[in-house]
C-alpha cells in the first residue's frame, strides 16, 4: 500500500501528473471525493515515501491523502473510472433536463401573467424545481464519492488561514 498526498496544483507550476501513473490516479480519486469535477492536473500527488515529502510538514499544505494498493488500483481501472464517468453523465443529464424544464416553466408562467383571464392559474415554482434537481445532483455524486473515499481511505485536510 502506498499513501499519497494530494495538493492543489498551481496553474503556473508547470507540473503535471505522469499519465497512467498512480500519482495521476490519486489525483483523480481526490477529484471524485471533492465532487467538484475539476480539470485534469487540478490536483497533483506525491507518494509519502518520496524523500522530498515530509508527511507532517506537508500535511499542512496538502488537501487530501489517498491510499492505493495493487488491488484497489486495479479496481479503479476496471470499474470505478467507468462508474465515475457514468455518474458524471447523470450530472450532465440532470443539468440538461433542469435547463429545459426551467425555460419551459418560465414561458408558461409568463404566458399566464400576460393573459387577461387566466392569472388565477397557479404558476409553477422555480424554487421547487431547483430544490428537486439539486437533490438529484447531490444523490448521484454522493454514493460514488462516499464509496471511493472509503475504498482509498481518503483523508481531507481542512486548512484554516488567519
Amino acid at each position: 500500500m502506498t499513501k499519497y498526498l494530494v495538493f492543489r496544483n498551481q496553474p503556473d507550476s508547470g507540473q503535471v501528473n505522469e499519465p497512467g501513473s498512480r500519482e495521476e490516479m490519486a489525483s483523480e480519486i481526490a477529484n471524485v471525493v471533492s465532487q467538484d469535477r475539476m480539470p485534469p492536473n487540478y490536483y497533483i500527488s506525491f507518494p509519502i515515501e518520496n524523500p522530498k515529502v515530509s508527511f507532517e510538514s506537508l500535511k499542512e499544505l496538502a488537501k487530501f491523502s489517498v491510499e492505493i494498493t495493487d488491488e484497489t488500483a486495479e479496481l479503479w481501472v476496471n470499474e470505478i473510472q467507468a462508474m465515475v464517468q457514468k455518474a458524471h453523465m447523470v450530472d450532465d443529464a440532470i443539468g440538461e433536463a433542469s435547463g429545459g424544464i426551467y425555460q419551459a416553466m418560465i414561458a408558461y408562467n409568463n404566458a399566464i401573467d400576460a393573459s387577461s383571464n387566466f392569472k388565477d392559474l397557479t404558476s409553477l415554482s422555480i424554487k421547487a424545481l431547483d430544490r428537486a434537481f439539486e437533490y438529484f445532483e447531490v444523490e448521484s455524486a454522493y454514493e460514488v464519492s462516499t464509496k471511493v473515499e472509503e475504498i482509498y481511505s481518503v483523508e481531507s485536510f481542512e486548512h484554516h488561514h488567519v
Binding site: 462508474m83 433536463a97 387566466f118 392559474l121
Partner: protein, 163 residues
Amino acid sequence: MSKYLVMSRKVDSPLTHADGSTEETVCEIAKNLLHYPGPSEYLMAIPADTKIATFAVLKEDALCSIEVTQSTLETWRKDVTNIQDAINSFQSARDHAENVLDQALGDLDEAYENSTGFKGYTPSDDISVYGALEQMGSNDLEYTFQRALHEMYKFQVLRRQRA
C-alpha cells in the same frame, strides 16, 4: 353571451365559416375541448336559438354547446394559444428530461449492478424526475387549464363522438 351548437360538417357540404368569424373560432374552441381528432374545418357552429339548431338536437347531431362573448372570443385568440403552446412546450421539456435521465441512470444502474465493489445500490431508486415534477403539480397543468376553459365557455358535451 351567444350560445352555439357544434356538429360535424357533412363531407360534401359546401358551407364553410368565414375567416375570422365567431363561428370559425367556436369550431376551434370545440375542437380543442372535445379533443376532436380532425381539423376544426370538419366542424360547423350554429347559433343555438335557430330552428336548425333545435333540429340538430332532436336528431342528436350536435356534439357540444359553447357560449361566447366578445371578451372570451378575444381571450381565445390572444391568450389560449399562448398558454396551450407553453403547456405543450413544458410537456415536451418534461418528456425530454425524463428520457435523458432515464438513459443516463439506466447506464449508471447497470454499472453498479455489474461492479464488485458497488453492488447493492440502485441510483435510480433515489433519483426520479417523475416524482419531482409530480410534487410541483406540473402533471395537472393541462387538466387545470382545460377545466378553466370548460367553465369560461360553458362547454357541454351533447353527444359522445364515435371511437
